[in-house]
Subunit: 219 residues, 2 copies
């Protein structure tokens, strides 16, 4: 898809701002596993996803992880331009979970236009509110939902993203998404297997009773 | 303090926007306990705090609470105008923790100006990024800090807000701030008392060894 078609408020931008974006935007391929953004260590820019999948997560000092949200085709990664907003006082990491193609508007160009353009500033506001909503949802999950519910939701979400009931996922990877310990995930997956919800083999989880997982996820 | 002096980007607003705000802003007294904002049920507007203290928190279906952040003198409550941003898909409650005086810019006025004014839109962006940072800090606390650390931090924060080492707080109230059960707080406070960090009487917690609490809080 062409850049202009992907950029949601393109028609609302002033011609000189469109011109400034078009002359600076770059296209990049991010092979699976690429770190696009790493806390305050870099500030690549405002990233639009052409195809693929990004994962945004936080890391503890001890190296534990928890997934904040995923970004798919046509989504926008705002925090890869976090240096633009001085009030962003947290560090997230964004990596490519699949081979991904992106457009990048360099941070300085984005910042300069946003300072002048109410449409771009308001659009950025909506983007941030949207990520904020993802994170608030996550807090509610962590605080008030039990791990079986969260694991069921995660497996169903993965199946939808991968369009397959056979998920190539280690217990360690699942633990890193959910922000818990591998042992805890293994125990819960074995319980799911005993109940007939999933079948486990080395490195894969196969969903065998999707209805039961949906019932759990709705809790 | 006068309204214009409290409003951080006043001088950057266009004269017609200043005029429109001045002719619509209202001043309100919120006695302690007043609910200023309650999820999606209302949308009072953009709230500037003249004096006092507000608390923003979320509620579970079962009535459990967790404090997201506090707002003090000169702070701004953006989410009491959450209807302005359609991507805000979460519900928070904001109440006055002390007798509080505020200025309110009605949501519709704020929305109309923000759509035209890059300075106001960018300022709102910074405000949201700042609250987002508070909430990310909270996630890290919940995920990766133990309850003794979180309780020590909370007691020290309260002592700073109240400018007193004798805190009028029930165990229930502390539990609602930290998003845990009363019994869990009671157990931890008794442990703190046995260690000589605090002295407990009905309805109060007195900090008796602030250094020890600081050591715990720094964990």
């Amino acid at each position: 898809m062409e850049f202009q078609g992907l950029f949601p408020i393109w028609d609302k931008l002033a011609p000189q701002h469109q011109q400034s974006i078009l002359s600076s935007v770059i296209s990049r391929r991010l092979p699976k596993g690429t770190v696009l953004h790493n806390g305050s260590a870099d500030c690549a820019g405002f990233v639009l996803i052409k195809s693929g999948q990004l994962r945004a997560y936080i890391l503890s000092e001890e190296g534990r992880e928890i997934t904040l949200y995923r970004l798919l085709e046509q989504d926008i990664c705002l925090f890869s331009a976090s240096c633009v907003l001085r009030s962003v006082q947290f560090e997230i990491t964004v990596t490519a979970e699949k081979d991904t193609e992106v457009y990048i508007i360099p941070s300085q160009v984005y910042k300069t236009i946003m300072e002048e353009s109410a449409p771009l500033a308001n659009f950025s506001n909506e983007l941030m509110a949207s990520r904020f909503s993802d994170v608030m949802w996550l807090i509610e999950q962590i605080m008030w939902k039990s791990l079986d519910t969260r694991l069921a939701r995660f497996l169903l979400e993965e199946a939808a993203l991968e369009e397959s009931d056979i998920l190539k996922l280690t217990h360690e990877a699942i633990a890193n998404h959910l922000g818990t310990a591998r042992e805890v995930v293994t125990r819960m997956l074995r319980y799911f297997q005993n109940e007939g919800y999933v079948a486990l083999t080395r490195g894969t989880v196969e969903i065998t009773n999707s209805d039961a997982l949906h019932d759990l996820a709705d809790n």
